[in-house]
């Protein structure tokens, strides 16, 4: 009964969202709103993928930008029309790849290639403990970036020059739907036995192992899944920007995604999604007036000039990190908030007892 109600509500919500997005697509394809919707959806997917590792499995990985880069490059390299290759690979006589895959195939491969790389490096690296794992994955991302930028790989990756003219979407609903479907798959995974095993590993590795959970296997599954979806997110990002360059995928990008996860709440999927939209909207749109030195209501505000937006924004992030450590959602999901919680009642009762 309850499930049915929930299903109906979410279906209605989804329909409203789709209609809204279609409206935006038809009437303001190039507005800031459209831009935030697309980028927010992409960041939401990547953040949820990182959350799967950091929040649900307790593996502190900082390699997200590296996997996104692999995905973006796989997609871009494989879907540039043959006729355009000579212009894109201008210093490498058109490159060595002389075929062009359909968009959907490219997108799936954009997930599979980073997944394979995750498998390769996961084998040794996943044995490491918390912050060593973080720094090793960060290092891996930097190494991959250098390899892609290597001159001798130019015919394949176009070296450090940017890739463009690859297959792209027309309707802004596309990245949102892809990202929604991917997030739904991650949610299904989290709610399966795998997800419960991940959480057990997060809470106590040794206890989890004692309960018969294969640590190496489950960590690897989480790592590869996260890489797969980060790769798809990277491909979507490449499409959104209509050009892609390895130099963009720095550790700063990983930090941004990590901050989204923290703002949304470590261990909450809906939190990450909300965090992503908030983060993108604030940094690209709502706070933009702070960069504007124009007077407001006749008063020239002395601090407002280029860069002030990011400064305010980073102060807000520090406040969240220090004082609202649980982020927006903590480890709860949005629908949880409407559920009756017996816990609270219990707590109240126990307080009374103490008193």
């Amino acid at each position: 009964m309850k499930n049915k109600k929930f299903l109906i509500v979410s279906l209605i919500l989804a329909a409203v969202c789709i209609v809204g997005v279609l409206y935006v697509n038809a009437n303001m394809r190039y507005s800031m709103l459209a831009s935030v919707l697309q980028k927010g959806a992409i960041y939401a997917l990547v953040a949820v993928a990182l959350n799967l590792l950091n929040g649900f499995t307790g593996l502190f990985s900082l390699g997200q930008a590296g996997f996104m880069m692999l995905g973006a490059y796989t997609y871009a390299i494989l879907t540039i029309p043959v006729a355009e290759r000579i212009a894109v690979y201008q210093y490498f006589d058109g490159g060595i790849i002389q075929f062009c895959l359909p968009m959907a195939v490219g997108l799936v491969l954009a997930g599979i290639v980073p997944m394979l790389f995750a498998w390769l490096i996961g084998k040794p690296v996943l044995k490491l403990k918390s912050d060593y794992l973080a720094i090793a994955t960060l290092g891996f991302a930097e190494i991959m970036r250098a390899i892609i930028q290597w001159k001798n790989l130019g015919p394949l990756t176009n070296s450090s020059n940017l890739l463009k003219r690859f297959a792209n979407y027309e309707n802004i609903l596309f990245p949102m739907v892809v990202s929604a479907v991917c997030i739904a798959i991650i949610v299904l995974m989290i709610n399966s036995t795998y997800g419960r095993a991940f959480k057990a590993i997060r809470d106590d590795e040794i206890a989890a192992e004692a309960m018969g959970i294969n640590l190496a296997k489950h960590k690897m599954i989480a790592f590869m899944t996260s890489a797969f979806f980060a790769g798809i997110g990277g491909a979507l990002l490449a499409m959104f920007q209509s050009s892609v360059q390895a130099a963009a995928f720095t550790s700063a990008m990983t930090y941004e995604i990590l901050l989204i996860v923290v703002i949304g709440g470590i261990g909450s999927v809906t939190g990450s999604v909300m965090g992503a939209f908030l983060f993108v909207a604030c940094s690209e749109w709502w706070l933009r007036f702070l960069d504007d030195p124009l007077p407001y209501l006749g008063v020239q505000i002395p601090f407002m000039r280029g860069g002030f937006r990011m400064l305010v924004f980073s102060v807000v992030i520090m406040v969240v990190v220090l004082f609202f450590r649980k982020g927006i959602m903590g480890d709860k999901e949005l629908p949880d908030l409407w559920k009756k919680r017996p816990k609270k009642a219990l707590k109240k009762a126990s307080k009374k007892e103490v008193a």
């Binding site: 912050d131 090793a136 960060l138 930097e142 970036r145 250098a146 470590i266 990190v321």
Partner: protein
């Protein structure tokens, strides 16, 4: 084929860079030794020290500004610890690390805001940039001073840690945080001293580094910071001589890789490849102490 003087030049350049990494790495290794925290903001403290110098020198001579820069950087380091790390002392390690990333983000954005995102020319300290000719190798004074000063500072630091009361307290805290606290060591003081030393050395490194390369920009701290951290891990985290040796190895290797035209792109990647290898084959670094996992 190149002459011998070429290789000497590369070696010298590597030693200079290595010395600077060493000074920064000490800050990382000491903080990590005590708090088990990768202080991602350390590279940005180094960058901020550079900007302190730039802005102070608009009003005074570089020699007067120099001690002020050191003091201001130390204050900045301690402030960051008090504001961003101390409230999280009981929180999970991941939270503290995220806080460190947040501070780094904040400092970079602050510097971008203040400078308008442009690099600033670093004030020249008289005499340091004069070039001298040693045989067929030309070096400037800074190249000579950097390693000498670094070694001197490291020796002083090691003496401080091994032969003073506060040094003993630091060793105790890094061995076992909770027991040290129970034994009556004032943990917060020890941590403050750690940050004072770390920031001081970062400030010294910044003066040498930016005098050598001439300009400061808001994002300049990130890479040297990460490399210094790798040096610290490579040498064995918590070990000061280890960090210094690690830094020199990384500096010299990087210099030779950069000189190779085919592989120069990998100068940064090499550092991380080294890191991953060390973590896999000798997780405690070259000089690190073996630690057992507590359940």
């Amino acid at each position: 084929m190149h002459e011998a003087s070429y290789y000497i030049q590369l070696l010298l350049s590597g030693i200079t860079v290595g010395s600077l990494y060493a000074l920064i790495a000490i800050g990382y290794t000491m903080v990590y030794g005590i708090l088990r925290l990768i202080n991602f903001a350390h590279g940005d403290i180094f960058m901020m020290a550079g900007f302190f110098m730039v802005y102070l020198c608009t009003g005074m001579s570089p020699l007067v500004a120099l001690p002020l820069v050191l003091i201001m950087t130390v204050i900045l380091g301690v402030l960051i610890e008090r504001a961003a790390y101390k409230p999280l002392r009981t929180a999970p390690r991941m939270s503290v690390m995220i806080s460190a990333i947040g501070v780094s983000y904040l400092l970079q954005n602050l510097a971008t805001y203040v400078t308008g995102g442009l690099a600033r020319a670093y004030p020249e300290i008289p005499g340091l940039k004069n070039t001298i000719q040693l045989g067929s190798v030309s070096v400037n004074w800074i190249t000579i001073i950097t390693p000498v000063l670094t070694i001197l500072l490291v020796v002083v630091l090691v003496l401080l840690i091994n032969h003073t009361k506060i040094g003993m307290a630091m060793r105790a805290v890094s061995r076992d945080f909770e027991t040290a606290q129970l034994m009556g060591i004032k943990i917060n003081n020890v941590i403050s001293v750690t940050f004072i030393i770390g920031s001081f050395l970062a400030a010294v490194a910044s003066v040498l580094y930016f005098t050598n390369y001439g300009q400061v920009s808001p994002m300049i701290g990130a890479m040297p910071g990460l490399k210094a951290f790798v040096a610290a891990v490579f040498g064995g985290i918590g070990s000061i001589p280890g960090a210094v040796i690690g830094a020199y190895i990384i500096g010299v290797c990087e210099s030779f890789i950069k000189a190779n035209e085919t592989f120069s792109v990998f100068s940064n990647a090499f550092t991380f490849a080294l890191l991953i290898c060390v973590l896999l084959f000798r997780p405690n670094g070259l000089f690190g102490e073996k630690m057992t996992e507590k359940v």
